[in-house]
Symmetry: C2
Subunit: 119 residues, 2 copies
């Protein structure tokens, strides 16, 4: 029951597309990541995903449109919906999703991260 | 799959301790509220609660300590733990919790809010 300070957590790492766990509730993880450039297309069969932008701009490509997300904005990506996160500069994001959620969803490749570090 | 802009949502109401629903994921609601002054002591038997401060300072009293939460800080109140939210000035908060969560938890009185408005 201590406050989780986002800036303190983000200061602890510098690599991209490698989420860290900063908290948990109701069988979900609160994760943060620094992201830059283009991720892969994927979907999550069983999990809705919440994205909150802390710094920068997150572009979320869907098959029929792109949504731009800035600090103070949230986006829920419903289960089953294909999406591709993308940025122009470095962007800091927070995600809340079930513990079962894999960063690359239905795809498993060199960008998949398991056994995430807990900060 | 549209961005949820927090400032736009907060602009739509002015009363205190009356949460609104701004989104949902995985059987949870994303709620926001403007709060000021002291709420009641309560706990949630089955639900962990996530508090995120958007503006102002939230003081969370526990039976053995008080935690101060500012913008950019998060707090998870685990199920079963008695707590009392409190502020000095007006504070804007976001909460993520299961749809079953009642604002007054195990207490039901004139401060209880059911059938929350969806913004």
């Amino acid at each position: 029951m201590e406050p989780i300070n986002l800036n303190q957590k983000f200061a602890q790492f510098h690599d991209h597309w490698n989420p860290r766990i900063i908290g948990e509730l109701n069988d979900q993880h609160i994760k943060i990541a620094k992201v830059q450039g283009e991720f892969i297309w994927h979907s999550h069969q069983h999990e809705d995903e919440l994205f909150i932008v802390v710094q920068g701009t997150l572009l979320m490509d869907f098959r029929d449109k792109t949504v731009a997300l800035r600090p103070g904005e949230l986006l829920v990506v419903p289960k089953g919906v294909e999406h591709r996160p993308r940025t122009e500069g470095e962007t800091w994001i927070m995600m809340i999703e079930p513990k079962t959620t894999l960063n690359t969803g239905n795809v498993e490749n060199e960008r998949t991260r398991k056994e995430l570090e807990v900060l």
